[in-house]
Each structure stands twice: as structure tokens, then as C-alpha cells.
């Protein structure tokens, strides 16, 4: 959970960066798109059974990591994006503890013999 909170802070930082370092319009827009998406994913992934959403932030992190080379950004923008990307990927890889049980989670819906079906069958005896 703390890893997702750090990711929320990274997203907020990316959203504030254009105002702090007065980026140009295109670079600002890039940050105004990426920042809210990171925050949204991190908030959804705060809950244990939706922790899997953190993988979307790994994807966004991967884009952010290569974005200076694709978009031709240099200097402070490239430094901010690459540093944020590395931290975002790192903290998105942390699953954190899962304490509750959710009948096998979302993947159970695609399993042949999910844990909720087994336990329901057990109760009927």
C-alpha cells in the first residue's frame, strides 16, 4: 500500500513540474496526461484485490523512461522524466501484503476450478 502512495506522489510531482520549471506547452501537456493516469492507477491499486492495476503503471513508467528519446526532450525535462520513470517502475513492482481473501480474485472468473467454487462445494456437505 505504501508503494502505491509513493506512486501517487510521483504522479502529483509530474503534474506540478510544468508550473515549477515553466515547461513549454507540448511538454506540459505530456505531463498533464501522464500524471493523472498514474494517480488514477495508483489509487485503484491501493485496494488489495485490485493490486494488479499496478502493472498499468509499469507500462506508463516504461513509456516515460523512453519518452525523452522519442519526444526529443533534454536537460531538466529528461532528468525529471527518467528519474520519475525509474521510481515509478520500481514501486509498481512492489506487490505489498494482501491480507484479505477475495474468492480467488478477478483471475478466478477465468479458472476451471477456482477457490470460491471449491469452498462452496465443501460447505454443501
Amino acid at each position: 500500500m505504501w508503494a502505491q502512495i509513493i506512486n501517487i506522489v510521483i504522479g502529483l510531482f509530474l503534474m506540478f513540474a510544468p508550473s515549477i520549471w515553466s515547461f513549454d506547452k507540448a511538454t506540459s501537456d505530456h505531463h498533464y496526461i501522464v500524471g493523472p493516469l498514474i494517480i488514477t492507477n495508483a489509487i485503484i491499486a491501493l485496494w488489495e484485490f485490485n493490486r494488479g492495476i499496478r502493472w498499468l503503471n509499469v507500462l506508463i513508467g516504461a513509456w516515460l523512461l523512453v519518452s525523452p528519446f522519442v519526444l526529443g526532450n533534454k536537460g531538466i525535462v529528461a532528468t525529471i522524466d527518467i528519474a520519475s520513470a525509474i521510481l515509478l517502475i520500481l514501486f509498481s513492482l512492489f506487490k505489498g501484503s494482501v491480507q484479505h481473501r477475495y474468492g480467488g480474485g478477478w483471475s478466478s472468473l477465468f479458472q476451471k476450478n477456482p477457490v470460491h467454487l471449491k469452498e462452496a462445494a465443501g460447505k454443501e456437505q
Binding site: 489509487i43 485496494w47 485490485n50 481473501r101 474468492g103 480474485g105 470460491h116 467454487l117 469452498e119 454443501e124
Partner: protein
């Protein structure tokens, strides 16, 4: 185990350790939806020109710029009024049904989850469009966006429990359609 304890255990879906349809789980969502409804209604009343000004402690003229922008007025109805309607649907579908609703009324649980998902998506889209297209920020718009995103996960856990129940109904050979609408007391036959 006494009767009330047995009843409590009966409410918890198999292989779960809490009941996602309990009032303790649903009440915070209903409260957030009602708060969101009033904030959106306030902004909508400004858009309908019932109110002369709109409150914004951080971005000055930002809220007014955004709420009167072409994006906000792209539809026949102001976007905040649609938002208010969305929150109202969230609150009403959050209230309907008892603590067994994940298996007695899967349809309402699914409507609840589906109503909250898109509302969150649209909020985020608007948060992105504000600075990119209009070049402004709006405090209350950001607040409602955060509210709708925070609602997503705690609302869809109930939907997961309902979908797992329907999966068990399908395996048992009963009608998933009837179970979805809570007919024929299938919930008494399938755990």
C-alpha cells in the same frame, strides 16, 4: 455458534473473509456519492446560470473558464449536471438491497459497479482535458474527480463477489439469467 453468528457467516461469499455487501462496506460509498452529487449540482447550477459565480480558492478564474468552456457545453446538458446525475445513480444503486444482495440481486450490484466505473473514467478524462485544451484548472472539478476515482475499488469488490456467484450458478446448471435478476430463489440452491 448461535443463530446470528450463523447468519453473519452465511452473508460472507465462499473463500472471502468479509461481506462486500455489508452496510459497513457500502455506507462510505453512499456518503461519498452524496457529497459528489452536491458538489456537481453546485457547479451545474452555475453552468445553468442559476448561480452568478463559482467558488475557487486556488485557481482564481479557472473554474469559471472551465465550466463555461466549449468542452463543458459540448452536450445539450451542462457536463456537471450529467455528473450530478451520475452520482445520484451511484447513491441510489448503493442503497438498494440488503446485505445479501451480492447473491440475491446481482443486477443491482453490477449496475452499481458499472455506474461508478465510467463516472471515474470521465472524471479523469476531464481532468486531463482541462489544462490541455482550456489551459486552466478547477478546484471543485479536481475534488469530484478524486471522489469518483476513490469510489472505484471499494465498489467493484462487490461486483467481483456477484460475478463469482454467477460463475457458480453456471457450473451448477441453473439459469444464470434468472440468478442475475434474483428470480426462482436460486441463491438458496447455490452457495
Amino acid at each position: 455458534m448461535n443463530l446470528s453468528q450463523m447468519d453473519k457467516k452465511e452473508q460472507i461469499p465462499p473463500a472471502w473473509d468479509y461481506n462486500p455487501s455489508s452496510w459497513g462496506q457500502r455506507m462510505p460509498l453512499i456518503v461519498i456519492a452524496i457529497i459528489g452529487f452536491f458538489i456537481a449540482l453546485y457547479m451545474g447550477l452555475f453552468q445553468l446560470e442559476v448561480l452568478d459565480s463559482v467558488w475557487d480558492p486556488f485557481f482564481g478564474d479557472g473554474s469559471r473558464k472551465i465550466l463555461t468552456s466549449s468542452v463543458s457545453e459540448a452536450l445539450p446538458v451542462p457536463d456537471a449536471i450529467l455528473g450530478a446525475f451520475g452520482y445520484l445513480v451511484d447513491a441510489v444503486t448503493g442503497v438498494i438491497g440488503g446485505v445479501h444482495r451480492w447473491k440475491k440481486m446481482p443486477w443491482i450490484v453490477v449496475v452499481f459497479g458499472v455506474a461508478i466505473g465510467p463516472l471515474g473514467m470521465i472524471s479523469i478524462l476531464l481532468v486531463i482535458l482541462q489544462p490541455v485544451l482550456i489551459g486552466a484548472w478547477c478546484t471543485l472539478c479536481l475534488v469530484t474527480a478524486v471522489l469518483s476515482v476513490v469510489m472505484i475499488s471499494p465498489a467493484v469488490d462487490e461486483m467481483l463477489a456477484s460475478l463469482q456467484y454467477l460463475q457458480r450458478v453456471k457450473r451448477s446448471g441453473h439459469s444464470v439469467w434468472k440468478a442475475f435478476w434474483g428470480k426462482d430463489n436460486i441463491h438458496l440452491l447455490v452457495k
